[in-house]
């Protein structure tokens, strides 16, 4: 990428008119020097944003770092939702729950964060539980909101942990708890450990920069044609009907993806014929068209999930993934891809496949570990009464 930060000369105009010509992609092709002008001051942050490497971006200043931080906050929010869904489904399926366990306390906490029915879980915390858990549960039943600091943590480590999260969210502290929130012995003698279910919720708040910007700084590497035309709207503006239909029909989603490919392939081919060498270098080395395509498909997958069409979402995210390295984060495979894929699999009943996506995230984003573990529990529960099958090759 750094090689591209050289001065560039304007390109010849593309052969066929397309909404992409006037979008940031077309502007870069026409005036490749715009790229240099945009990224020159904050090169490192732009490189990170291009690579979808968002961790740590919130510590830097500048627009690209803020955009990365916002994307990271969105990722954390998705992981928080997944984990909450995992707690709800896992503990609903798990019968009987281990006596004296702290698990219902954490299920209640996850439900409280997500606006679910927290009390039903807290009422399941039995007297045999650790006194710390019993006390924290009783206290939380009195304060069923996480909008303000806890008035009294009573020296209880669980309540103190919750309060530290709240302090960070309210901007009263620059650090927050992470890692394992609780350990207890199982009947087998092994230790049960609970990753902190509040971590992704806290990150979704503290990393959110609520960035407002315009121009190339706002649009470069985005799924937008302009500041106001992004995602499915951008697909529509390109002449492709993004409608996914009333049914969760994967074929409809495939057809939309294929129609989008036709438009983008045609545009890319035209640029290969007409754009300047500098512009072609930009497109190729930064994989700008495949990256744009992947983000559009991801936005459509998100839309499919909102419509309750998880099978379509799976198809769209799978179409978006770069299969040169399908289990690696990079310029095309963003962390959000894997979070959306995990959600889509989970909502279509394929819990085990959701873990394939989450494992990729958990390697780089510790806040994904909680969702990975609780959904792993769910996958195991769903298979408890099965006898597995295995074959060679």
């Amino acid at each position: 990428m750094l090689l591209l930060l050289l001065a560039c000369t304007p390109a010849a105009p593309p052969q066929a008119p397309s909404p992409l010509d006037s979008a940031w992609l077309g502007q870069l092709v026409a005036q490749p020097q715009l790229f240099t002008q945009t990224v020159d001051a904050e090169r490192e942050a732009w490189v990170a944003l291009h690579a979808n490497s968002w961790r740590g971006a919130h510590r830097d200043s500048g627009k690209p770092a803020a955009r990365a931080s916002d994307l990271h906050a969105d990722l954390a929010s998705r992981l928080a939702g997944l984990e909450a869904m995992g707690w709800e489904r896992t503990l609903s399926e798990w019968s009987p729950l281990p006596p004296g366990s702290a698990l219902p306390f954490f299920a209640g906490l996850a439900a409280l964060e997500s606006g679910g029915d927290h009390a039903k879980w807290w009422l399941l915390v039995d007297e045999a539980a650790d006194p710390v858990v019993v006390q924290a549960t009783q206290k939380m039943l009195e304060y069923p909101t996480l909008g303000t600091r806890l008035p009294d943590t009573m020296g209880n480590p669980l309540l103190e942990r919750i309060d530290q999260h709240l302090a960070a969210r309210l901007g009263e502290s620059e650090s927050w708890p992470s890692g394992v929130a609780w350990t207890e012995a199982m009947s087998s003698g092994e230790m049960r450990s609970v990753p902190d279910p509040q971590l992704p919720w806290t990150l979704s708040v503290v990393l959110d920069k609520k960035l407002e910007s315009t121009g190339m700084e706002a649009l470069l590497f985005s799924d937008c044609l302009s500041v106001s035309v992004c995602g499915p709207d951008a697909i529509a503006a390109l002449g492709v009907d993004p409608a996914l239909g009333m049914e969760d029909d994967p074929t409809t989603a495939r057809n939309v993806a294929q129609a989008l490919d036709l438009v983008l392939d045609t545009w890319a081919r035209n640029q290969r014929n007409s754009a300047s060498p500098e512009a072609q270098g930009l497109l190729e080395e930064l994989q700008l068209v495949p990256k744009f395509r992947a983000q559009l498909l991801l936005s459509l997958a998100d839309e499919a999930l909102k419509q309750g069409h998880p099978k379509q979402a799976v198809v769209l995210v799978q179409s978006a993934l770069d299969l040169n390295s399908p289990r690696t984060l990079g310029p095309i495979n963003s962390p959000t891809h894997f979070a959306v894929l995990a959600q889509a699999h989970l909502e279509s009943g394929h819990t085990r496949e959701a873990l394939d996506a989450l494992e990729v995230l958990a390697r780089s984003y510790p806040e994904a570990v909680g969702a990975d573990e609780i959904l792993g529990d769910l996958a195991v529960l769903e298979g408890l009464d099965r006898q597995g099958d295995s074959k060679e090759n």
Partner: protein, 503 residues
Amino acid sequence: MFPTLSLATLLTASTADAASFRYAEDQAPGIVNPLFSTTMSEARVNELLFDGLYSDNQELATVPELVQSDELSEDGMSLTMRLRSDVPWHDGRPLKAEDVAFTIQAMKDPGTLSTEAGRVSFIERVETQGESLVVLHFTEPQARPQDKLTFKILPSHAFSGSTVTRSDSFRSRPLGTGPYKLVSYNDDNSITFQANSEGLGGQARIGEVVMREVSDKSYQAKLLLYESLEGLVRVLPRDLAVLQNNRKIELYPYQTNSWWYVGFNQARAPFDDVRVRQAMSYLVDVDALLAPVGTGEILSGPFVRSSPFYNHKVNPRSYDDARAATLLEEAGFVREGGMWSRDGEPLTMTLSAHRTLESAQEVVINLQSQLRTGGVTVEVEFLDEAEWKARIWRQRDFDLVLSQWSFDRNEDIREQLHSEGARNFGSYANPEVDALLDEARSTRDPQAKKAALRAVHALASQDSPMIFLWTLDSYSAISTRVDDVVIHPFYFFTWVRQWHMGS
């Protein structure tokens, strides 16, 4: 066998089949009889030909297939099932309760030597009442026995007695209730299937399915690109990018819970010595072995990395010839002239591999070279499917094997690593592992199951009954001419009835 045919011959020969769904397998099924299925290609064909009492719906919930209704007793000790009356066998005869009883008895019959016997071990006995009622009695209370009753049902009238042999004529004239009938085994090792007009839910929408044996993965990809095939069940990682860029092909994640390994025959010296097995694993540079195959992930134990049972605290073993030397010396070997020997006998072994295991030849040659550099002489033999089943599975006549295990979403490794496991042909035995596997199967606490199997992972890594190699990025490729494709993550063809050829 395919390799004797040229690509041009295949392209010419295939043009008449344009209305068919033609898919490629690395190897044709060695046997078409669910009682003896050991390979994925056999499992896929079984899915075309046979039905189970229950099956997975697309949300992977267990739903009735051949069963009309059922009732679990209050104590969970028996399940009464009424069979559907509208599903005949491919020869037109009606499905009967005695078919279910026969299938279970045949699987349990010690004389049958079914590789699937473990799947019915929880059934104590079968009782039939009339032509359509079956009562299963269990060895212990069951919460959801339907989840275990997904094995394929066979027609009792096609056999004589519950002891079934591998050579039974059924293998050449298989009879099921599934969405397709087997029409012909063809001279080029392909198999032609025709839609069963009386199958569950009516006739499958694709009239004909043809399984082609194409052992060369490069040929497979070319045939798909030239539209002489409609499907590849598994694409090599190195071909993924090319196929992804072709807008006439869709890629589908498939069979992702698979891993490659080199297995030791621990019933034979010197592989009964853990130090020798560990030394061998230190002599293998797994990264270098994987490179020609494509992208994948190196593993430290018997699960893929995304498995809830994978123990991330156990690291894959790295190449370390000094450590290997120490272990071999401890085991009584000396190195002379660069080669290891004990009591004057050189450390020599034979590595057996499937003739058609994808890219096995490259891996085997590189492995042979690596071990030779490490002072170990390795002879290589490639076995066809029949030889493999006889030599490896039944006779256990091997030193090392290179192979791949594929698991459904339950990732149950008990058959591979328990001392009584039917797939434990390496004769691995560790009482602690046995106990943990038993606990993993009996516990109702998912976290306890995870802990037990993560402990098994650690012990297996230490004991090295196998050198755990890698899992590959695993995708199927299907032509966009085929619509409404949804692939079962393990069995592939489970929902083939809805597939159809588009415009």
